[in-house]
Amino acid sequence: MNRLFGNRTAIAFLVLPGVAIMVFALIVPIGFSFYFSLTDWAGFGAFNPVGAANYKEILTADPVFWRSLVNALILMAVTIFIQNPVAFALAALLAHISQKASQIFRSIFFVPAVLSVVVITKLWVNIFNPTYGILNKLLRLAGLKSLAVSWLSNPHTALGSVIWIIIWQGFGWALLFYYTGLMTVPKEIEEAAVVDGASWPQTYTRIILPYMFPVISSVIVIDVISSLKQMEMIYLSTDGGPGQLTQFIAVYLYQKAFVASQYGYGNALSILFVVVAVGITVLVQRLFRSEGEIQ
């Protein structure tokens, strides 16, 4: 069957289109990006090579770059340690109620996840509006006037509010992953635990969670990637403000290139972004792989 499974012409026909598209739309642009990152180009007009000056400035003298990385880490932490456990708990609850009710609830929980980020963001920008938004109307009605702040521009609440929008939209996905993961837990191992006299918290911590480890780890990897990639939500709501408190690297590089006319600098940010994204993802995956082996 070597002729069937090892046919080189066939392999070439199957693989080349995909690889070609990826090289064209991913790899070559990154090559260009690297080239421009070594210049002081404004995006138009003449430019000079500046060597690694842009990189040096980003790494040594640009607090906004570090701020945006820290924000991504905060988002990651909130996603992993708050959103995920809640989604898991909810998924577990849904697994215990009737199929029909569970399906209805799951459909509702997932609605935000299918909508365009533009719709979601504008939705929440309006809800957070201090003049006519329903959140502050509600707070004032409840006599909590002092809490009715300007959510997206108050330095104390801006990052939290932006993270809330992101978590809110991502919640459906987390729930769905965990629910479908729970559905794959074989009946036998759980029954065996019940026979052994385990209470349900014990069943969860000793049997189900370890069984779910692959699912949990892949959800976390996905969360890590998407936390780093946040852009549109920020771009359409706070645009990184107030100050640079809600800045994320993808927004920042866009602003540098197209607002500050520092196209070369923006490309340097872009390259560092790739390095960080690939680096962190590989790191997290390694972490889980070795953990998985211990298990």
Partner: protein, 288 residues
């Protein structure tokens, strides 16, 4: 089929009824949290803008102002943008599905030297953020005159969905027995035929899932469309909301109507195909 459904969560009958009530109450609160914002926007999309500024917590549309939708439809260029979205999304979804199916087949079922390398390369596509190509693509795509064209959007839309789709297909294709192709091959069938009439039908669930998920991803994509397209007649649907912010910055009701109209197509699609999204998640969660 699954173990948990039948496990009673609250054993002691005393707390049972209360427990059940609390459980449902909890779920309902979450459900409200997830859909209320949408209902709020819809509510004020059929009222006068001034109503939004009123003192009431929520004003019900006792006299619906459907006229807002007429304005959103016409001035938001909903139809034009909808057609553009359809052109870009349908072509990118079809191509991405076929190409990733081929990639998955070659990397899971065929035997060749560079297979691991190719699989790793495809995996890399999952990690590279699309935003890193936003700046250089201006220069690179412009070489081919692809900036401000639909093709210039379709290509990255394919490229950025390939990796995930390939992974999804790979999960499904791994499970098929090799004897399938072997007997077809001995019957004299060639690759195109084997793939199309033997493998594809077996992977049908995965194909539907890939189609739906890629559709949603590309349909909702904003930043590339917003950056690369400059001719109004080429723009895609999410842009109409942006368009409204300038033109009707003072008319929130029409803006809300526009948001509702833009939200509708994926919602409709979701209600028809939610089963496939769910099964896609299974594949993604377990094999991802």
């Amino acid at each position: 089929m699954n173990a948990l459904t039948k496990t009673p969560l609250f054993d002691r009958s005393a707390g049972k009824r209360f427990g059940k009530f609390a459980l449902y109450a909890f779920l309902v609160v979450f459900a409200i949290l997830q859909v209320f914002p949408l209902l709020w926007v819809f509510d004020y999309s059929i009222q006068k803008t001034g109503d939004l500024f009123g003192p009431e917590l929520i004003k019900l549309p006792l006299v619906p102002v459907w006229h807002n939708y007429a304005r959103a439809w016409v001035d938001g260029k909903i139809l034009r943008y909808f057609i553009n979205s359809s052109i870009v999304v349908v072509s990118s979804v079809l191509i991405s599905t076929v190409v990733s199916f081929c990639l998955a087949y070659a990397t899971t079922r065929m035997v060749w030297k560079l297979r691991t390398l190719a699989a790793g390369f495809i995996g890399l596509g999952m990690v590279i953020p699309i935003h890193t190509t936003l700046l250089p693509n201006f220069i690179w795509f412009n070489v081919f005159g692809l900036i401000n064209t639909h093709v210039g959007l379709i290509i990255p839309y394919i490229a950025f969905t390939l990796s995930f789709n390939t992974l999804l297909f790979a999960g499904q294709l791994k499970t098929l027995p090799r004897s399938m192709e072997e007997s077809a091959f001995l019957d004299g069938a060639r690759y195109p035929k084997i793939l199309a009439s033997v493998i594809a039908p077996m992977a049908a669930p995965a194909i539907v899932t890939v189609l739906v998920m890629t559709f949603l991803t590309n349909w909702n994509e904003f930043i590339m469309a917003n950056t690369y397209l400059s001719t109004d007649d080429l723009r895609t649907l999410p842009f109409s909301i942006i368009r409204f912010q300038g033109q009707y910055s003072s008319d929130y009701a029409v803006q809300f109507a526009c948001m509702t109209l833009v939200a509708l197509p994926p919602l409709v699609l979701y209600f028809f195909f939610s089963r496939w999204i769910m099964s896609g998640a299974t594949a993604g969660a377990v094999k991802g």
